[in-house]
Assembly symmetry: D3
Homo-oligomer: 297 residues x 6
């Protein structure tokens, strides 16, 4: 006789059916960063998750940052950091190192994906003129080559998806003088998700999710409607780091992304768990204040 | 924290990766019959399995028989069975009832598949002139409208697959005078698998698999090379019912199907278990006498 | 010299030119039923007509009923009819027999078409989720599994036409619980004609056409504008059986079908005669009250 | 009741079925010339025939000469004919007039076809570099700008057919110095039929067909196998004008055209009669000496 | 070392970059006539220019007149011109000659283009029913077969462009009775440019361009906005021959052509110079009164 | 009047016609390296040349090295070079820096191309699994992560060309353990040219070309047949650095590349001059010993 163990395996696969159906051929943008990028086990698990999503018919896109690698290499080449208002300035030399490090990380991810049998193509926002930017000021101060996305030209992503590649994107763009700029990876992921009309946008973070009260872990929210998210910001109930992230979530949903997730990237296979089980991981930001919309994911 | 239970679920999905990869966009013909067609639970599980295969990127095709329903309806309309050499004769009236019952079973399967969210199209070998036959004689005796497949015109199946439908086929064909014939479902499945260049052909049966010694359950074979299968037949080591089935397996492999499986349809989710775990269910008939070929399925 | 006989043949073909031109690549839905389905000669002629239409560039679709065969088989299996308000109730068992009989008729038509060299595919409204229904009540009474079409999913028909098959459809559909329902064939033909944007919808009936006065054969109408058809109904000038048929005609035209014909299916080749000669057979229901629109068909 | 007359019309259309089926989407090259080009009634009938063939699914191509129009215009502009060995010399001026006249005839045919509702495109062998030629000598004598086809570049014809136009071609070509040459229309039709892999090539002529004995009208041959045609030439049993025509027929068949017809263009609708009835008009040149091949045309 | 001469050549090619980029895959209609059609050197240069445009990625279309050739041939065949109000009447015979001459010119241009290695197809407005016309009256007087374009059916041009041919068109059309009409070549070019949504329309003329004061050569305008062009006409500041030409320019721009040029066809390579240098040749008619729009052509 | 200067410009463009025609839609692989990569003016000119080739219809691909940048950065991060047999060893750390530098150079080239209005995509041999390698040994010694190309998977390049991007490729590949390897850029360019069936492969070098006698500048060869190239190597008449380069040229031609060029990258616009003038720059390696093959390039 077949052992119970095997039947349970079959059961897990069968339970995945409605989720596979729901997202079949839909685009999912994964903002990949934080601990999940540092820990080798977590890194492998994230990539396994993304590859599985690809193979069962989804169209995932990875947008990644460079994390602590950039700082490490800036030090390695003996550069002196400069600060304005307490913010690190991305001068031309820093930008050069940052681009090199992001490129290195990008190809590492490409290699990992391909070792699992899926073809990936790693690009930056320069390729195919994907990301166009303008200088971003911090309270009016020039902090160097840090850019805001002004427009996205999604043709290269659409072409790669059509040709069945998994696009892996690092957040660098050009301004209209063809100067190179660094872009916040959350911002880049959000801009891309909107431009390709993604169904889902998932941020892998180092927090458990959004709290109603940041000081009380028991107030972790499993879902949050756009209206509520705005109130949280207005009421000052979210910490500083969370504000721009929540703002990105709100933006994405208001421009057509169906659902945005703030996931805890420290949980193994958090992406898979979020998508294939009805156990919510982290916080889902939803469009409308309707419970029934949440039934099947 | 996320419960172990969920992590185990993720693990099962991740373990399915290499199998999904291997069969991505490959055609799998499933001969569906026997107990798995009678028991409502098993029926639902088979259909769930096939639907899952479809959703994760395979191209399944179901070929089904009518099982005991045909006998039941032949009785219901008060027909007297006729026999030649102990074989039931399929006269014109019996053929008419058989076609009606197979059509009914066909649409039931279509309904089941569609209730799981996948679009199916149920056809017989008449549609698109799929199956052409000639009369089959049993030791020279005319047993009526029972046919051997003489040619397959796979365009209708290819078109349905291209348009993303799941084809469900009942084994009826036309001879050159456009008379209707019943075809053994195993034969039809085998002929179709060859014509569409299937990667896999799986027979759902009511046995555990092939035995080296039919009288000794401990001699169940998990794999069997074509050469060995031929020897089993030549040596008289397989029972009567198994000979045509084994012959179909050998035929299919010699004309290009990569692997043929004789599965025990009485095991829940036997199809999924065979494809997604390395626990072989039943007997796999393989091309060559090479162990390494068996490593990844 | 060539005999006059041959020149006359050429003349007939040449006269067909403007009609072939007018309907080239247009969709024509033929509701096939009545005597034309019982008489073997008429049946062959209808199928010849449809095959000719296909070959000269039209895109015909057949929607058929089961006629008297259903009653015959219901009796054959010894079922007791149940009645509500004098109407036969389609209970689960009756529905099962009806589906089997419609399937049998469907494949007979497929066979006939293929014997004339054209590839057909016979489907029901279950295939490709073509016909979705809800229960139909007769004056508030539940008469069983009889359905009204709530939506049509024409993809399977469009795909079959694109792949050059002739679709033959029997009027069975599923409700949202995936229960099987019988549909009036006229209703199904009308719903399909609208969904596929047919140019023409032709009902083969057992009457000569519509009469201004049902009791006076000399008042047969060769054409009828939608406005007039509505008046006939409002004035009570049409018999009971004709009302739903006329209503279907009006519906079809109001949703974009260019012309609807009520043909006398008892006339050999009535379909061909209607389309290829300017001798109107039966009654044409037309959109507007403009004579000039009628000049070339 | 429907009059017999109409039923007979339907019968004629039904009888055309097997012929329409046989040539569906096949290319038919019609060499159009002789009396059928002079008599206005015959001209209209030929064009009606070709248009009908187009509409019922064939892919006809017309290759035409200029007939007596060329001589008429050469006279009209007051040119003096020059002769070599009794053959008219096509000098530069004559060639210029010939090209103008052929162009005029070409557009007249385009107009006629379009007046029947089919879109035509008239080209010469210069367009799309269709016909490449070299100078043809008559027994070693230079007779001017008369060319032999050296190669055919069928892309323009294939493109026009794909785009559903009816190509009408006049037999003019360029040599490698880009000088203009006249080509015998029979030769051009034969070269084109071979290049586009035509199913059929029909020559409209002013004779009844091929005779076994040119002096005995009772010896008209309804069919002629390639082998026999060669014997007729070798035995000197065919008249001078017929030799190159027969040679073209033999060539065409040996390079893959299935059947070549020498039709009597003086018979109204000879093209239609040949294709849609089993009354052979003129002489069919066939590949092999097998009667059974002739059964269905 | 490489000689300066070669470096200068490279420089010229590099300077062409922005122009090639701007018009890549854009349609340019060239109305070809006047001296550039008579002088053999100019003719060759125009064709070279058009061929170059084709090869570097533009989609040129030539629309040509017959120039003085028509008059020459009308005389040659001994026809007597007839006049109405001082205007030559295009009677049936004149029309016949005109069509023949235009056909001859058309194929000469096809030959020239092909001698430079590009495939051309020469058609008239009859082919593919491209140009439909109605009779044009001159101050109410019937001047024969001279037509105004009533509609354009651009499918044949679009198909030829898609298949990579260069279309060369002579301005002849059919009215609804399928009678042949001559069309002013400027009008035909303008109608075609509008129908195919051309980016540019260039008239090769025998004047230097538009003058503010026709009597003062120093008032040649290098550009002219639509508004100004209308004022010139209203103020009577342009000569009679120029009025319909300017009107065509205005029409074309108002229906979507981006820029129209009146070029001096007597300048060698005027087309290339206009497009590839910032030396304007002749007068550009522009949409809006904005200087910045003129910067990069 | 138009100035002579402009007419000369037109003349240069016209002279480019036969070259544009010859290479239309053909693939040209440019190995970019050496001085042309260091000097900012030369760099801009090379990119202008490639962009022009793209715009006039060629399909260029750039394969580049990292030149002196790699050494500079290896020093910058304070790494100690290791040597084996006098050869620098590419250990894991060196490989990491090399990949980062190549990535940086790659995106600089992408930026330059895009600033000229053409969309580029920069990839390495990891993307789309383009370049697969195995370890290369130097006389049996392990010199670290330096690889030989074992196979090329050109799909990503073909897809980018189809989608109209200009691919820019850095020579890095993966072995079967998914370890990263550096590849000699000449080798990578040669392997890619063969895999995509390039028409032309051009090496930008820092030499004038191949000399018959390396010590005598007057023996510079403008062309060299494969047979002669082999003799030069066999006879020891070429210097050490030139041997692998010549071997690559021979390989490329023997596997189907039509012509290979060793160009002097120090000459401005050397690429354009080579392709658009009949002034040969550097040495052309040709297939056969036939002068006539060289006529038109």
């Amino acid at each position: 006789m077949v052992k119970t163990e095997y039947l349970e395996k079959a059961q897990v696969l069968i339970e995945a059916l409605p989720y596979i159906q729901r997202f079949n051929r839909k685009i999912i943008v994964v903002k990949y960063g934080g601990s999940a990028m540092v820990d080798e086990n977590l890194k492998r698990q994230v990539i396994q998750d993304v590859v599985l999503l690809k193979l069962v018919g989804f169209k995932p896109i990875i947008v990644h940052g460079g994390g602590k690698e950039i700082s490490r290499w800036v030090g390695k080449v003996g550069m002196e950091p400069r600060f304005v208002n307490g913010l690190r300035v991305t001068d031309k030399d820093t930008m050069e190192v940052a681009e090199m490090v992001l490129g290195k990380v990008n190809k590492e991810l490409v290699t990992l994906v391909e070792s699992l049998g899926v073809k990936a193509v790693g690009i930056s926002g320069k390729d195919g003129a994907l990301l166009n930017v303008e200088k971003k000021y911090s309270n009016g101060e020039d902090i160097g080559y840090v850019g805001n996305v002004t427009s996205v030209n999604p043709k290269i992503i659409e072409d790669l998806l059509e040709k069945d590649f998994l696009p892996i994107i690092c957040p660098i763009g050009l301004d209209k003088n063809f100067d190179t700029y660094n872009i916040n990876a959350d911002d880049a992921a959000c801009a891309i998700a909107k431009a390709v009309h993604a169904e889902k946008l998932a941020f892998l973070t180092d927090i458990e999710g959004v709290y109603l009260d940041p000081n009380d872990p028991s107030t972790l929210l499993s879902k949050l409607f756009v209206k509520e998210a705005k109130e949280l910001i207005d009421n000052g109930n979210v910490g500083g780091g969370m504000i721009p992230k929540l703002q990105n979530c709100i933006d994405a949903i208001e421009e057509g992304v169906s659902r945005v997730h703030i996931l805890d990237g420290r949980i193994p296979h958090c992406l898979l768990l979020e998508i294939f089980t009805n156990k919510g991981i982290g916080t889902a930001i939803l469009r409308k204040d309707e419970i029934k919309d949440y039934d099947v994911q």
